[in-house]
């Protein structure tokens, strides 16, 4: 277990980051901090993917010097996945931020529990 963990430090780091992001998103009261947690979580996954796609000693899969052997390049698919994932997470973050602004202008607080309390008081 120990040596394995050490050899795969990239995966270990991304897993730890994922957990940090996850707990932040789950447990933070402040909405902005939640969104930051979301971004940490997503980034951790992209780190994981990038780490997996990288093969030591090879170069980016762009043909510049006429070498077409697949042995020379790293796996391009994870990079593609990371790009797609980033697009998704950006759009989700934007949506969350806009919702946060809506709530803030209405209730002047970023604390979700406080907002729930105010809603209860409104009685609707």
């Amino acid at each position: 277990m120990g040596p394995n963990l050490f050899a795969n430090y990239g995966e270990a780091v991304s897993a730890i980051l994922f957990c940090i992001g996850f707990t932040n998103l789950l447990l933070q009261k402040n909405l902005i901090k939640k969104i930051i947690g979301l971004n940490i979580m997503d980034s951790a996954i992209y780190l994981f993917l990038a780490e997996k796609g990288y093969i030591a000693g090879r170069v980016a899969p762009i043909v510049v010097n006429g070498v077409t052997s697949t042995e020379a390049y790293i796996n391009p698919i994870p990079s593609g996945l990371v790009l797609t994932g980033i697009v998704v997470s950006v759009s989700v973050t934007a949506l969350m931020l806009s919702l946060t602004i809506r709530l803030y202008t209405r209730y002047h607080t970023l604390d979700l529990d406080e907002i729930s309390r105010q809603l209860k008081k409104e009685g609707r």
Partner: protein, 497 residues
């Protein structure tokens, strides 16, 4: 390749593009486009279903003619086509039934936005149903989440925005876990297409390699989808989201969105992990236990609720518990029961939401039980429909709910270790269901002394009433002639593997 094989792709694209078109159309035209698109896609799915039934085997459709393992694929079998057809029917009825409420609750200028979201939702649901690629599935899961969030908050009051935020947070947690599980799976197998992953997983299991990462990956994907489909105890966001959004949204969310995720989970179980591999893990026991707990606690929460819409929402928690209980049994019969329950619950729950709105409308807009007294007389169609929905939920013979309970019980008696637990919880949960649904039915049919609210006549709500009739028809059809549907599900699940 037959021309009909293009239909899955066409239907996804059609709804995506019509969504885009809706953004520049005036509200009225957007509405027409939306309805036509749903109807056309339903028609396409029906033709596809007939074609698949006649051919008898599923087909794989290459997107952009790249062969596996690099291309992106669509795969259609009987179950997928049937599900798509059913989703279209329920969505069309939900939209029609809630249309009049949309005018009350949502600003006219925002109507076309609503139709964009609905079309987007439909396309992502269809993509979830048809896709053969895990990462595509993830992307459409996110699109589904975003559009569902939009559906919740299109009615701009504090509650809905808060509910939307809570929904988003839980959903994002779920999709984060799903994505992470998927990446680990990709890491282990080197593939993204479901069929290829399954081959590699089979090799891994056979050789006994990477057992722990494999289990972790499966568990992460399962938990992610469970959170997104509001399995107990991840249901905290659900009552507000279903209870306060505009009624079409609530009906669509409860009957389609969560079912889309569950369907994806079924696909993952069958087409990615392999049914037998999945059943040999302990995960099914966990799903089973949480399913049972959901069945009981969901109903108890519903009993304590004093708001009819929230009560129906809590009942969804219980019903989703049923579905996961079926997964947890780990047999094909259990799975068939679950899939049947997906259909029956979708048909019943949307009926209940739509009927409930008719009842609250004639009670001064209040959803409290005290004000609903006698609402069944003031709005007869909604009253009858609500009664039918309730009877189906309680599991009275002739309605769809009875058949799904029968199927669950039949599945349960075949599993030695889980038989007693499932049958007892099934019984308890049924009685609890009866408690709150029958309470409501009696309440709406108790004559109100000098009620201040006026009644509704058929003339004022033709479309609404006709929608309800169709809903009831779907329900009774599922209840009376269940055998063809069950056969179809069997055939579809067999085609999966």
């Amino acid at each position: 390749m037959n021309f009909i094989c293009n239909f899955p792709f066409f239907s996804i694209l059609l709804s995506l593009f019509s969504g885009t078109i809706c953004s520049v159309l005036p509200a009225k035209a957007a509405k027409v486009v939306n309805r036509v698109v749903i109807a056309v896609i339903g028609l396409l799915s029906a033709i596809l279903l007939l074609y698949l039934l006649s051919v008898g085997e599923p087909f794989v459709y290459w997107m952009g003619h790249f062969p596996a393992p690099w291309g992106n694929e669509i795969r259609a079998g009987v179950l997928e086509a049937g599900m798509a057809l059913f989703f279209c029917i329920i969505m069309y009825l939900s939209m029609a039934g809630g249309a009049h409420k949309l005018y009350d609750e949502v600003d006219e200028s925002k109507h076309n936005l609503y139709y964009i979201l609905v079309n987007l939702l439909l396309s992502s649901l269809l993509a979830l149903v048809y896709t053969n690629d895990m990462f595509t599935a993830y992307v459409f899961v996110e699109i589904n989440t975003i559009s569902a969030c939009g559906l919740i908050m299109i009615r701009q009051v504090g509650r809905t925005i808060e509910a939307a935020v809570r929904y988003m947070i839980m959903s994002l947690l779920g999709s984060g876990l799903l994505l992470f599980g998927l990446c680990i799976m990709y890491d282990l197998t080197g593939h993204l297409l479901m069929s290829n992953i399954k081959e590699s997983v089979g090799l891994l299991v056979a050789n006994g390699e990477y057992q722990i990462p494999l289990i972790v990956s499966i568990a992460l994907m399962c938990v992610g989808l469970c959170i997104k489909s509001a399995l107990f105890p991840f249901h905290a966001w659900l009552p507000d989201a279903y209870g306060y959004s505009t009624v079409s949204s609530a009906a669509i969310l409860s009957s389609l969105v969560s079912k889309g995720y569950i369907f994806l989970l079924i696909k993952i179980i069958y087409r990615v992990i392999g049914f037998d591999n999945f059943n040999s893990t302990r995960i099914i026991d966990v799903l089973f236990v949480f399913g049972l707990m959901g069945m009981i606690f969901g109903s108890i929460s519903a009993i304590r609720e004093n708001d009819i819409r929230r009560m129906i929402a809590f009942s969804s928690v219980a019903q989703i518990g049923y579905i996961y209980m079926g997964f947890g049994m780990g047999t094909q019969t259990g799975m068939v029961a679950s899939v049947y329950h997906i259909l029956s619950h979708a048909a019943t729950k949307s009926l209940l939401f739509i009927a409930a709105i008719g009842l609250t409308e004639v009670s001064g807009g209040s959803r409290k039980f005290a004000d609903l007294t006698g609402a069944g007389y003031r709005n007869k169609w909604a009253g009858v429909a609500f009664t039918v929905g309730s009877l189906s939920m309680v599991g009275i013979p002739l309605f769809s709910g009875f058949i799904s309970k029968l199927l669950f019980a039949q599945a349960a008696v075949q599993v030695e270790g889980k038989m007693l637990a499932s049958l007892i919880v099934l019984g308890i949960s049924t009685v609890l269901n009866a408690v709150y649904f029958m309470k409501t039915v009696i309440r709406i049919y108790t004559a109100a002394k000098d009620s201040p609210y006026g009644g509704m006549t058929f003339g004022k709500m033709k479309i609404y009433a006709i929608t309800l009739i169709f809903f009831m028809l779907v329900n009774v059809l599922l209840g009376v002639s269940s055998q063809p549907v069950v056969d179809l599900i069997w055939q579809g699940l067999t085609m999966f593997s």
